[in-house]
Structure formats: structure tokens, C-alpha cells
């Protein structure tokens, strides 16, 4: 499998670390909504087909990438930096209390 890192170009999968399902949404602290936290920590999509994933280029520039991968053929459909595109809210204000 080859993943094209936007910094480093096409690199072998051996240089990357899988960092999980990219569809998860982290609840905004200080939320104590356990269902939402459970879903975030434990629930994973497991599609036979295109899947939105996070990979870290751990053996390279160490950037986290949002990768769309076909789980059947292992074809990589797209890669982009995870930074910025993620749905995580700016929870800095809530972080301090």
C-alpha cells in the first residue's frame, strides 16, 4: 500500500501508523454525555468499501493525514492533512474553568 503524504510524496505503508476511524467526533469538554463519549471512544464504522481514516506519517514528517481508503482493494482514494479539516470544535474556552 502506498500513501501519498502531502509533504513527503508517495510512501510505503510501513512508514505510517493507523490512528483510527476518521468519522469519530470528540464531544466538547466538559461534556459529560456518556453516550456521546462512548460513541467516540468505542464505536467504529467498519465499511466494506471507502473508509475515512486517520493515519500518521510516523516514519516520516509525523503529520496526521485524513485518508480515504477502500477497505476491500486497499486503494487510496485521497489524502489530505488532518489538521484544519477536522470537526473538532475550538474548546479552548471550555478547557479553562
Amino acid at each position: 500500500m502506498l500513501i501519498t503524504c502531502p509533504y513527503c510524496g508517495p510512501r510505503d505503508v510501513i512508514e505510517f501508523t493507523y490512528q483510527g476511524d476518521g468519522n469519530r467526533e470528540r464531544p466538547q469538554p466538559p461534556s459529560q454525555d456518556l453516550d456521546a463519549w462512548n460513541a467516540y471512544v468505542y464505536d467504529r464504522l467498519n465499511p466494506a468499501g471507502d473508509h475515512n481514516e486517520i493515519w500518521q506519517h510516523s516514519g516520516g514528517c509525523r503529520a496526521h493525514l485524513r485518508v480515504v481508503r477502500n477497505t476491500i482493494t486497499h486503494e487510496i482514494l485521497s489524502t489530505a492533512f488532518a489538521r484544519g479539516g477536522h470537526k473538532s470544535a475550538d474548546n479552548r474556552a471550555e478547557g479553562r474553568s
Partner: protein, 997 residues
């Protein structure tokens, strides 16, 4: 002259004699021989005993698909079992032995199994698992009773127990075109691609390039095909853009056109050249792949088809033409297709008498009739072999009239006297790699074979692989495939001209002759046609179930000979056409792959090592090293005659009495810097770091998102926006990744950078009542008194002129300091500290004493933060801030994580004054035969010099409530039982008066 060696011919070097042994007896062969050809030349017909029935077996094939002649090759203490003798190139001093026989190949008591053939039929294992329903051996007990005998009787070679001293390598390779297989198709493809100037790799599992050209007896461009192949290979070798890999089996085809191959670099050599590995694992990333992997000839299934002397027809041709060995003097052939006629001519030419050609087809072409008469063979068209005769070697066979359409036999049996029977059941393209790549094979009813379909990855097929069995087609397809793969335009230049014996590539659809006796489908696993039918009668209708129930195709050869005949027999039993029964998908590896080659450099000499800056000093000063992950750390600095326990007890005691020093350079160190660094640390640690003053350190705990404990360590605030985080040695990488993930994915708005600085700093921890005095005597530029350097304070100064950073923190529980300097100056600072400590009796201590002192203090490490424990379980709940959310804070109070019966950290004291063991279980009452339910387990243990007792840390159910009570350690595996007292984990100086000074 050996009995079966021809006077001339073959590709062997008759001037070079090679000596080797087989089953202890000396033999000779020639350079270019395989173990199979050399033994066959020496008159050996018996090569092995079969898997279940211990039937005598000889050579069936001449190549990688050989199912019978498996041998074990011995090199010193190392034994490698289950290698086909056809793939072992002989060298001087080769020692090979046969397998699955007791006491010897010729006289094997296991052959008695043949008498009990009914018992060992299909599904025998499964039936034995179930066993009788009642009685003393009911259920699985019956299996346990039988297992001992079955394991001895049924089997292949025995694996060795000695460590493998060989070295293996992994290579990554990149090319535009990878050509797999070097027959005429592969050679043409490689040449055509190479001429386009692209990077080409040509791999073949055989020692010599050429494939079928080496034994077909055909001629190409007016010269013997073998010479043509040699010339092509030589031309390719002269090209800079071509890499030739002989003895290299491409065994796996993975996504992204990544292929795995195993090169046998020195297995054929008496002595390896300097630096040569035994085998090399190639990970090849190819732009395009040309699959020119050829085809396998199929056996016919008839009674006695496994008798030594019954061989595939092309294999006989190969022994004659490539090795100059005649498989027999009086040869009969049995076929359902034209290709065997060429074999007949070849054997005749080499000097054998071809007594008969038995062809299941009644309408044999005039061309074939002419070939039969050229071979001076009697042609028995519309006949079939119904039995073979002889013991350990064939003496004759019986034939009967046969109707190829109905499969019925008629007329009287007729005897044919022959010492060799060559069979051909048609040809199956070697589509394994294409199948691995995801392509589903398609049945071709005229070829009676599975052909590769449209590629699912970037490969192009050529030659027999595609079902084009003639050399002329292979040459044309090979060139076209090579050009296409290299992106070149079609060529109009003439193709090499082939002179070959003609023949129709389509066989008659006959796979089995149904007559009385055992007819083998899978030779290596001893599966007969009747076993397949029995499985069908017992209700196994899917091809996958059939495989598992009969074990058809599941031996080391993975059914290279047996897949199609087995499927055909099942299709007949089901009354369905073959394509409706389907076929199984091939999985990697194509042939057996040594585990050593997969581990390659990650093992032994070439395993990466991490050494601290003071490593050489430790070695020079008698440290016994301990490997922790990739790190090497001193375990003890033993004195002559000391045991490990005596050494660490002395080191720990001396530290508590005066002072000790330990290398802590392996601790993970991460620079956390930026305007939001303090905010970030508040989010990742359970406790507060934004309130930490510059010049102070704080102990911190991290949780995972699920609320369980993750890692701990101290973090130092070096500046307003500058922190130095330390992690445990084992978790340094994981913590780094954890921080990066949150910064990059979850909180990209935080202005923080994290940098691993583990290797930039050397660290020494010096502790004990005299530690401060030692420091004071060697540090310049700062005081180290209590006012200047309070507990958890940080100062900067110099030791031996080297800038150092000193933090007063303690793991040992003593007044202690961690001294950090630039890694390159680590030894200089270390030596200065040692020198300064001399008047105080400073000792160096290793991991054992470090561990002892931390157990005495009840500190946790990875043994307790084991991914299952919470902060509360470890009595670290005081660190859980209620003033802010942090990673894990939302999940840490879930019902199951605060239950009263959770395992909690406690201390244990052995009341019988004997050592405890890590992993031993704690029980309420002692019963060595039927131990009671476990209350928990020991995580760390030692002899405590401070307490004068054997103590341990343990995780015990409802631990705190059990303080002061008795329990027992129960460790049946190591036979350690005895009473313990459960106490607080803070064994020693619980109020911390020693470290606070």
C-alpha cells in the same frame, strides 16, 4: 557409471563429482544435479513414506510441486524439514535424510496403517475429536487417548529445536517491470522490456533461467532451446537496467503491485561467501508485473497411481534432458492428451524402451500415432491403467479397455511389464499469484483448466500461464507482454523460430479411472478419490468444507497437483459441472517461507540497539546489561562471586545508607513549547500544570480517552512557554504519538510544538543521605542547599565545566537529584559525579536496585499501569483535578471503573520469608490441588534490605480493605505456595521524611 545416468546429454557438469549423504549412506552426483536427480541416477526409487498410510513413495515431479520426496536437510545442529528433494541443489557435504519412517525408509512399521485404511479415511480427525458418546473414553478424551499415537504416525518432517544461526536479509526493490518466471515467455518479456530502457527484475525459483527450455528438447532459432535460454539470460545480465534473481520464489502478490519474494542465496553452497545471508526476503514494488509462471502437469487418478516409479510425464523428460537421468529402462505412458507423446519420444531418444502408450482417448490423431511409432511404442488407444504392481518399485501395470465418455471399463485386464509409468492428466496454468492479487479463476472447458481472468492489478500474463501451452505462443505472448508492460510500441521484427513436436493442447475430460484400489488425489496428504466421495456422502458439498474435511490441498504443497483433479471428482459426485463447484482462492505464500527471512534484520546481530551515553562506562565497570525494549540498561554492577540478589541488595542498601547513582538517560523526554504549552499540559495531564512556577517540576499522570491510566512522569517548567516532559522508558514513543495526535487532529488551534529530545540529554539520578553533599562538592555556578534547591526545584550549574540542569526529585525515596547534561558530555559528568562520590562510598546501581527501592516506596511503573488499572486502583486519585476537564476525565467515573471489587494496588510481605514471583496469584485459602479463585496477582517483587523481608506489590480485589489481613500466594506453575500479609504499598518511609530532608 551410475545405473540410470545416460551416456551423454543433460545440463550437468559431468567432470565435477559431488559427494553427499542421504539417510547416512554416501552418494555422488554432478554439479547441476538436484538431490532428486542425483539419487534417481544412483538407482534410488524410494524417497519417502506417505503421510497417513506410510505407503512407499518415489518421485512424482521434478520441480517445486513435488509432493512425495520431501527431505530434511541438516546443517550442523540446524535441521530444515519438508524440502522437496527436487529443489535441493547438491553440494559437497550435503546431509539429507528422509522423513516419516520408523526405523528406516525401506522397513517402516507405520506401513501397518495401510491395513487399517478404513479407519484413517476422510474426516478421521473430526470423528476422533467427537469420540464415542459413552464409556471411559467418551468425547474428547478419546482424542487425547489417540493423539499420542496419531501424532507419531502421521506427519511430515520434524522441526529442529536448536536456534538458527543463519543470517537473513530484507531488501526493498523498485522496478518498472517485474517478470515472474524465466521460461521462453518470461525471457522474451524481460528482454523486450529491458530494450525499452526501463528497470526490469526477472525472478525464477529455479537455479537456472530457461524454464521449460532447459528440458523441452525443442530448438529455438536453430539452436537447442536450453542454449537459446542461456544466451538470452547472458544478454539480460549485461544490461544495467536489469536485475536477475535466480533461486528466487515470488511467493506473495499484495495490493499496490507489491510482491514478496524469497531468494535462496546460499542454500546451495557448501560454504557461504563472507557477508552473504542464507536467504533474502525481497519486497518488490513493481510498476507492472508480467506473470510468466508456466503450468503444472496434472496426475491421473487411478488405483496404485502413487507407487514408486509412477511419475509425471514431463518430469521424466526433465530428468532425461536436463539431468541426464533415465527414470526407467522399460517405460509405459498413460495420458489423456498429446503432450505425453513428446515425452515418449524424448525417453526413446535417451535410450529407454517405450513399451506402451496408454491413451484414454480412442481417437488419437495421425500425428500422435506417428510419434508413437517413432518411439517404437505400442499404442493402446481407448485404454486405461487400472492397477500397478510392485513393492517399493514398479514392476508392471494392468490395463483395460476404457470409454472416455462414460468412464466405463470393459474387456479383460492385460498386463504390461514396465519399471516406469509416466502419466499426464493435462496441464493447469500456475495462476497462484494472479489469484492472490484478487482475480477469480475462470474454467476453460476446452483446456480443462482454470485460466486467469482479466487482471485486478497491474499485471499482464504470458505463455502457459494464460493457457497458451506451445513455446511459439509463449515467445509471441512474452514479447508482447514485455513491450506492453514497458509502454513500448508493438514490434514488427520477426520472432525467434521454434521447432517443436506438435500437439493439441486440449486434453480429454478424464481425471479419474474408477477401479478397485486406492487412487490418490492428494499425494502429500494421502487423500484418495474415495475420501472425496465419502465427504460428499457425509454432506460436505462446498469446496471449502471438502478441503477442510478431507485436508485435500492443505499439505505443504498446497495442492499444486491435486486441486483440479479433486475438484473434478467432487463435481462428478455432486453431478455438477466443474465451474459450478467453484475453486478456492490461493493465498500467500506460494511455497513455504522461512520465518527467519521475514524477521530478517530485526533479529540477532542486526537488531537495532539504543545505548545510553554512558553505556561504555557501564560495560567497563562490570555492569551486567539488561535489554528493555531496544534499550540496554545496567541490571546490576556485580562483584566477583555475587548473586544477582546479593548485588542489588548491596546496591540498594548502600544507597539508603550513603548514596547511589543510576543512569536514567532512557527516560522519555519531550520538549513541550509554545504559548499554549501550559494549557495543553492541563488537558493531557490529570493534574494542573498551568499553576506550576518556572523553575519547578511536578509529577503528572495521564489517562487514555477511556479513562484508564496511561503514563506518569515528572514535567519541568523551564520557562513560561517551555516545558520538559519526562515519560516512562517504555511509553516514550506512545506518549509522543498521543500528544501529536491531539495537537494535530483534535486541537489544531493550540500553539504548541512537541519535540522528542530523549537522545539529546544524558541523565543521572543520584540519591541517598549524602547525595546533596556529593553534588555540593562538584557543582559550580549554583548552590544546592534546601533554600536554593527545594524539593521539586530546578537549578542550572556546571559539573566538570559542563552545563547541567539539576532537578531535586526522588524515585528511590531518598534525598535525590536528577542531573541532566548534553548527551555528548554524559560520561564526563557521570565520571565527575563518581569521583566526587568516592569519599562518601557512592555506589552505582542498576535496574534491580532501582526496582527494589521503588517497590519499597510503593511507586507504580508499567507493571501496575498495565492498561487495565485506573488512577483510583493505583491510589493516585489525589491527582485527578476537579477544576478542569482532561483527557479521560469524562470516562473515568464509569460504573465498572469505580466498582468496589476492582483490583487495587497493595503491598505484600512473604510470611514464610521466601522470595515471591511476579505473576503469582493471591488466594484467600490455600489448596494446592484446587486453588481458590484468584483475588489478584503480584506485579513486582524483591528482597527488601530496608525491611529485611521478601516483599511485593500486587493488584488485589478490594485491596485497601484487606490491609493487615492474611492471604496466600498460589503459583502452581512454579510450585510456590505460602502465606503473605497484605499491607499498604507504601512499605518504607510512608511520610516521605527522607526525601524531603
Amino acid at each position: 557409471m551410475s545405473p540410470r545416468r545416460t551416456e551423454t546429454g543433460g545440463r550437468i557438469d559431468r567432470l565435477r563429482t559431488i559427494r553427499f549423504t542421504f539417510d547416512g549412506a554416501p552418494y555422488t552426483g554432478h554439479a547441476g544435479d538436484t538431490l532428486a536427480s542425483a539419487l534417481l541416477a544412483s538407482g534410488v526409487t524410494l524417497f519417502g513414506r506417505s503421510f497417513k498410510y506410510h505407503r512407499p513413495r518415489g518421485l512424482l515431479a521434478a520441480g517445486v510441486e513435488e509432493p512425495n520426496a520431501l527431505v530434511t536437510v541438516l546443517r550442523g545442529e540446524v535441521r530444515e524439514p519438508n524440502i522437496p528433494a527436487t529443489m535441493v541443489e547438491i553440494y559437497d557435504g550435503l546431509v539429507a535424510v528422509s522423513q516419516n519412517r520408523t526405523p528406516s525408509l525401506a522397513w517402516d512399521i507405520g506401513a501397518l496403517n495401510q491395513l487399517g485404511g478404513k479407519i484413517l479415511s476422510a474426516g478421521f480427525y473430526y470423528k476422533t475429536f467427537m469420540g464415542p458418546v459413552i464409556g471411559p473414553l467418551k468425547g474428547t478424551r478419546f482424542w487425547m487417548f489417540c493423539e499420542h499415537f496419531i501424532r507419531r504416525a502421521a506427519g511430515l518432517g520434524k522441526a529442529g529445536t536448536a536456534p538458527d544461526p543463519a543470517r537473513y536479509e530484507r531488501m526493498n526493490a523498485f522496478c518498472d517491470v517485474l517478470v515472474v518466471g524465466s521460461g521462453p515467455a518470461g525471457l522474451m518479456a524481460a528482454k523486450a522490456a529491458a530494450d525499452q530502457g526501463v528497470r526490469v527484475i526477472l525472478a525464477d525459483l529455479e537455479a537456472h533461467f530457461g524454464g521449460s527450455a532447459n528440458w523441452s528438447g525443442e530448438s529455438i532459432d536453430g539452436m537447442p532451446a536450453a542454449d537459446w535460454a542461456q544466451r538470452m539470460a547472458a544478454q539480460l545480465a549485461g544490461n544495467d537496467n536489469v536485475r536477475l534473481l535466480p533461486r528466487t520464489t515470488v511467493w506473495g502478490y499484495y495490493d499496490g503491485n507489491t510482491l514478496a519474494a524469497l531468494e535462496r542465496v546460499t542454500d546451495h553452497k557448501e560454504v557461504a561467501a563472507k557477508g552473504e545471508p542464507r536467504q533474502r526476503y525481497w519486497a518488490i514494488r513493481a510498476g507492472k508485473v508480467v506473470l510468466a509462471t508456466g503450468s503444472f502437469e496434472r496426475p491421473l487418478v487411478f488405483p496404485g497411481n502413487d507407487r514408486p516409479g509412477v511419475m509425471l510425464a514431463h518430469a521424466a523428460e526433465r530428468y532425461v534432458n536436463e539431468y541426464g537421468v533415465l527414470p526407467g529402462q522399460r517405460v509405459a505412458l498413460f495420458t489423456n492428451n498429446d503432450s505425453a507423446y513428446r515425452s515418449a519420444v524424448a525417453l526413446k531418444k535417451a535410450g529407454a524402451a517405450v513399451v506402451a502408450i496408454i491413451d484414454v482417448r480412442s481417437d488419437v490423431s495421425n500425428e500422435m500415432r506417428r510419434l508413437a511409432s517413432d518411439a517404437e511404442a505400442e499404442l493402446l488407444a481407448g485404454h486405461a491403467v487400472v492397477a500397478t504392481e510392485g513393492g517399493k518399485a514398479l514392476t508392471g501395470l494392468k490395463v483395460q479397455r476404457f470409454d472416455a465418455v462414460s468412464g466405463s471399463l470393459s474387456g479383460d485386464e492385460r498386463s504390461v511389464h514396465a519399471d516406469s509409468l509416466l502419466m499426464s492428466g493435462g496441464w493447469s496454468p500456475t495462476i497462484h499469484l494472479a489469484s492472490q492479487a484478487g482475480a477469480k479463476a475462470e474454467w476453460d472447458s476446452s483446456r480443462q483448466a482454470f485460466l486467469p481472468p482479466k487482471p485486478t492489478q497491474r499485471w499482464i500474463g504470458a505463455g502457459a500461464f494464460t493457457g497458451s501451452f506451445s513455446t511459439a505462443e509463449a515467445i509471441a505472448e512474452g514479447r508482447a507482454a514485455g513491450l506492453q508492460a514497458a509502454g513500448g510500441a508493438a514490434l514488427s521484427a520477426p520472432l525467434p523460430v521454434v521447432e517443436a513436436v506438435p500437439g493439441d493442447p486440449d486434453p480429454a475430460p478424464v481425471f479419474e479411472i474408477r477401479a478397485k484400489g486406492k487412487s490418490f488425489v492428494d499425494f502429500q496428504h494421502d487423500v484418495t478419490a474415495e475420501d472425496v466421495r465419502l465427504a460428499h456422502r457425509e454432506g460436505f458439498v462446498s469446496v471449502e468444507h471438502l478441503k477442510r474435511y478431507t485436508t485435500l490441498g492443505m499439505a505443504t504443497d498446497q495442492g499444486k497437483n491435486s486441486n483440479v483433479p479433486g475438484l473434478a471428482i467432487m463435481a462428478e459426485a455432486l453431478g455438477k459441472p466443474i465451474p459450478e463447484v467453484g475453486t478456492t482462492r490461493f493465498r500467500p505464500p506460494y511455497t513455504a517461507v522461512s520465518i527467519g527471512s521475514l524477521a530478517a534484520e530485526r533479529f540477532g546481530d542486526l537488531k537495532p540497539e539504543r545505548l545510553t551515553p554512558m553505556h561504555d562506562w557501564h560495560i567497563a565497570n562490570g555492569a551486567r546489561m539488561y535489554s528493555a525494549g531496544l534499550w540496554y540498561r545496567p541490571m546490576i554492577y556485580g562483584l566477583p562471586g555475587e548473586t544477582v540478589e546479593q548485588a542489588y541488595v548491596r546496591e540498594a542498601k548502600a544507597t539508603r545508607d550513603s548514596a547511589g547513582i543510576v543512569d536514567v538517560s532512557t527516560l522519555g523526554k519531550i520538549a513541550v513549547q509554545g504559548p499554549d504549552a501550559a494549557e495543553f499540559l492541563d488537558r493531557v495531564y490529570t493534574n494542573m500544570f498551568s499553576t506550576l512556577a518556572v523553575g519547578k517540576a511536578r509529577y503528572g499522570l495521564m489517562l487514555r480517552e477511556d479513562g484508564l491510566a496511561f503514563d506518569d512522569g515528572t514535567t519541568w517548567r523551564l520557562g513560561e512557554q517551555d516545558f520538559l516532559m519526562t515519560t516512562t522508558t517504555a511509553n516514550a514513543g506512545k506518549v509522543m504519538q498521543h500528544l501529536e495526535y491531539f495537537l494535530d487532529v483534535i486541537w489544531p488551534e493550540l500553539k504548541v510544538t512537541v519535540t522528542s529530545v530523549t537522545d539529546e540529554w544524558a541523565g543521572a539520578a543520584i540519591g541517598g543521605p549524602n547525595a546533596r553533599a556529593i553534588l555540593a562538592s562538584c557543582v559550580t555556578g549554583t548552590a544546592v542547599d534546601n533554600a536554593t534547591l527545594p524539593f521539586m526545584g530546578i537549578v542550572h550549574g556546571r559539573i566538570a565545566g559542563v552545563p547541567v540542569m539539576i532537578c531535586r526529585l526522588s524515585f528511590s525515596g531518598e534525598m535525590a537529584f536528577e542531573v541532566y547534561s548534553g548527551a555528548g558530555y554524559g560520561t564526563r559528568v557521570w565520571e565527575a559525579l563518581i569521583e566526587a562520590g568516592k569519599p562518601f562510598g557512592l555506589v552505582t546501581y542498576g535496574l534491580e536496585a532501582l526496582g527494589t527501592m521503588r517497590i519499597e516506596k510503593g511507586h507504580v511503573t508499567g507493571a501496575e499501569i498495565d492498561g487495565r488499572t485506573t488512577a483510583r486502583d493505583l491510589h493516585l486519585d489525589w491527582m485527578l483535578s476537579k477544576k478542569k476537564p482532561f483527557i479521560g476525565s469524562a470516562m473515568m467515573d464509569r460504573e465498572g471503573l469505580i466498582a468496589p471489587d476492582r483490583l487495587e494496588l497493595v503491598g505484600l510481605i512473604a510470611l514464610d520469608n521466601r522470595a515471591l514471583n511476579g505473576g503469582g496469584h493471591i488466594v484467600e485459602a490455600l489448596d494446592e490441588v484446587n486453588p481458590h479463585d484468584s483475588l489478584g496477582h503480584i506485579t513486582a517483587c524483591c528482597y527488601s534490605p530496608a525491611l529485611g523481608k521478601y516483599i511485593a506489590l500486587a493488584l488485589v480485589k478490594g485491596g485497601r480493605a484487606r490491609h493487615g489481613t492474611r492471604a496466600f500466594v498460589s503459583d502452581p506453575l512454579r510450585n510456590r505456595f505460602g502465606p503473605v500479609e497484605i499491607v499498604s504499598n507504601h512499605f518504607y518511609d510512608p511520610d516521605g521524611s527522607r526525601m524531603h530532608g
